[in-house]
């Protein structure tokens, strides 16, 4: 590799990084970013719009699962996933998770599901982003005893498409018919004690 190329590559990456961050709604605190070193297993998926469309070209039209996936990602702007699986409990800080949750307590986001289970320590939050009464993104924060997962799907996601996923990938058919942001907020299921 030439000296010029060696100098250019970090520069290009440095310029591209803020663009990637802008596309992603969720910003993970440094504490979460460092969890990869503690985790037994880490999954990190960062796919922006062009990458999604490129990947979807390789989805087979003959495979029903892949066909539905292609339809789902057709209009998406990005899919970002961070999942950490730990050997022991208490590997992550609840404050870090709360910091991520706090990012979605804005008017454009609606918390449609929020589960707090003191019995097994599984906490799940699902946030929908609404733009012009249409879903424009979904964030899932799942904080389990030995697993911490953040999912951010950016882009126009039709509720029907989401429901379509019910049969695929193990995604349930959620009863979500957003009319406005207020009813969505009321759909919050509260806490389990």
């Amino acid at each position: 590799m030439s000296t010029l190329t060696r100098k250019l590559v970090p520069l290009i990456l440095l310029l591209a990084f803020p663009a990637i961050l802008r596309a992603q709604d969720m910003k993970l605190p440094p504490g979460v970013e460092k969890l990869a070193s503690k985790a037994k297993e880490t999954v990190e998926v960062n796919m922006d719009g062009p990458m999604l469309h490129w990947a979807s070209k390789f989805l087979s039209a003959e495979d029903p699962e892949e066909r539905k996936a292609a339809k789902l990602v057709a209009n998406l702007k990005g899919i970002y996933v961070r999942s950490y699986e730990f050997s022991d409990e208490g590997a992550y800080s609840a404050a870090d998770v709360e910091e991520v949750r706090a990012q979605f307590r804005s008017p454009e986001w609606s918390r449609v599901v929020g589960v707090r289970s003191e019995r097994d320590g599984d906490n799940v939050d699902i946030f929908f982003k609404l733009e012009n009464e249409k879903m424009a993104g979904i964030v899932i924060i799942s904080a389990e005893a030995k697993e911490l997962t953040f999912v951010n799907i950016v882009g126009p996601l039709e509720v029907d498409q989401l429901a379509d996923l019910g049969g695929e990938f193990g995604i349930p058919k959620l009863k979500t018919k957003p009319q406005s942001s207020k009813p969505m907020a009321k759909a919050d299921k509260g806490e389990q004690k």
């Binding site: 899932i140 799907i153 996923l165």
Partner: protein
């Protein structure tokens, strides 16, 4: 018989002799075919020799070798890039499917938890919700 007729007879005789039908000697046809084939082969050899003679010039010979080599190299690079792109695309597809599966499993978890909450809560008393009690 006139004088002229007398003179014509020897001429006529000699013509008749010259033009009389005569069978070809034995093996004549084979000889003709063999000669024709020889001529054909010789013509082809001459043509081939003239086409290959282009490469007798060193510059042209090496140019041809270089052109073939370049074509092979370009073809190889193109094929390798195609293979690499396909591998990268397959990896991206796997990543995408993994991301969707994780999202699906977490939504499933949320649904299970919500169902747990719903089943653990007691059914609301319908009697208390009579139209009279609302007013």
């Amino acid at each position: 018989m006139t004088e002229s007729n007398k003179n014509l007879n020897p001429l006529e005789e000699s013509l008749r002799n010259a033009l009389r039908r005569e069978d070809a000697p034995e093996g004549f046809v084979l000889k003709v075919l063999a000669r024709a084939e020889q001529q054909n082969i010789a013509a082809n050899d001459a043509q081939r020799t003239s086409w290959l003679s282009i490469f007798s010039q060193p510059l042209l010979r090496w140019s041809a070798v270089a052109a073939v080599t370049i074509c092979l190299v370009i073809g190889g690079i193109y094929y390798r890039n195609l293979q690499r792109q396909r591998a990268e695309g397959e990896a991206a597809k796997q990543q995408l499917m993994l991301a969707l599966r994780i999202a699906g499993s977490k939504l499933q978890l949320a649904k299970e938890k919500v169902n747990e909450i719903n089943t653990s809560r007691p059914e609301p008393q319908l009697q208390n919700r009579s139209p009279r009690s609302r007013s």
